[in-house]
């Protein structure tokens, strides 16, 4: 659907409103504008579904725009849980490091005492071995646990794209309101300009349009 059809719909709404202010209530309001907004809602829904594919357990609400915020809440939760998991494993590793230090101290004491108890020394050696092997496994588990950043990062990318696209589409609808009387070519230029500039300049363009609408 193009800005032309949104433009036509809005023209008719504005004409009908003007007619009503003159006492003429017989005008039909064209529902083409609904199409533009309907398409926006459909687009948001499509993004919501593709976000859900990334994480079927994610919270789903029935409203449209708040989809982005519920996804963001899920991301905050995932990063918190991921961090706690890594912290728990880190605590285990630190405890094991203490075990190893104690065992090493024991070995040193035995050697200093010069009483060679082979059985005891072998037992200490195997305890150290067990503790360091456990730490190795736990460190690898930290590696894999950190992959939550990749999953949340992908979700964030999708939400950023959604927000940018929604911004652009809202701007296009605003343009339809503000410059319906301009020729087609000039309208297209405006839209291209808006797509190309950074957010500060965009805001200035939008402010101009809003001013023209009397806001």
């Amino acid at each position: 659907m193009s800005e032309t059809s949104a433009n036509e719909g809005l023209s008719e709404i504005i004409d009908a409103t003007r007619a009503m202010s003159e006492g003429d209530f017989t005008r039909d309001i064209n529902t083409k504008l609904q199409g533009e907004l309907g398409e926006l809602a459909r687009y948001i829904d499509k993004t919501r579904k593709s976000l859900q594919k990334l994480d079927p357990a994610a919270t789903v609400t029935t409203s449209n725009i708040p989809q982005a915020s519920s996804q963001l809440a899920d991301i905050a939760k995932a990063t918190e849980e991921g961090t706690h998991k890594v912290l728990s494993i880190t605590e285990k590793i630190l405890d094991n490091q203490d075990v190893v230090s104690n065992k090493v101290r024991e070995l040193r004491d035995i050697t200093a005492s010069q009483v060679v108890d082979s059985a005891r020394i072998l037992k200490i050696a195997s305890d150290i071995d067990a503790a360091t092997n456990q730490n190795k496994d736990d460190l690898v588990e930290i590696l894999t646990s950190l992959s939550f950043q990749d999953l949340t990062g992908q979700k964030i990318k999708k939400i950023v794209n959604l927000v940018e696209d929604v911004e652009t589409r809202i701007l296009e609808i605003l343009l339809s309101f503000g410059i319906r009387k301009m020729e087609e070519g000039k309208r297209q230029d405006m839209i291209e300009q808006l797509k190309g500039v950074n957010s500060d300049l965009k805001q200035n363009l939008v402010d101009d349009i809003l001013k023209n609408l009397g806001m």
Partner: protein, 126 residues
């Protein structure tokens, strides 16, 4: 287990993921590991290097893992390189597409080191 000297290419647009996979592969005994952040970069590296194994994500900008797989299988000099897909995409249709395109095995994120080892052992038996 495969020849530990095998040259491996890890492809993912997320640097953290590349680092995690590279570290786990190191723990499993492999030390010759290169990285690519992009399917296009990966394809040119594969064409000019002597890689025996690719571990790739699916969702990447410019060229998806699936397109990379198809490109590799279509290129005579590298068509037989073993290709492991590691991805958050877990729908049946994704797995089927990958298998039809000639993937060697498929891992879903998040994964454990054990799963990675298991799948690699299946790709390179003996």
């Amino acid at each position: 287990m495969i020849d530990p000297k095998i040259k491996i290419l890890v492809v993912d647009d997320f640097s953290t993921m590349r680092r995690i996979i590279k570290n786990i592969l190191k723990q499993l005994g492999y030390s010759d590991i290169d990285e690519a952040e992009d399917g296009n970069q990966a394809l040119s590296m594969l064409k000019s290097g002597k890689y025996g194994f690719v571990v790739s994500d699916w969702n990447m900008p410019n060229m998806t893992g699936l397109d990379l797989l198809k490109a590799v299988r279509a290129e005579p000099s590298i068509k037989d390189i073993k290709f492991l897909m590691v991805t958050a995409e877990a729908q049946t249709e994704n797995v089927m597409q990958a298998v039809q395109a000639g993937v060697s095995n498929y891992i879903v994120k998040p994964f454990t080191a054990e799963t990675l080892k298991e799948k690699i052992d299946k790709i390179f038996p003996g």
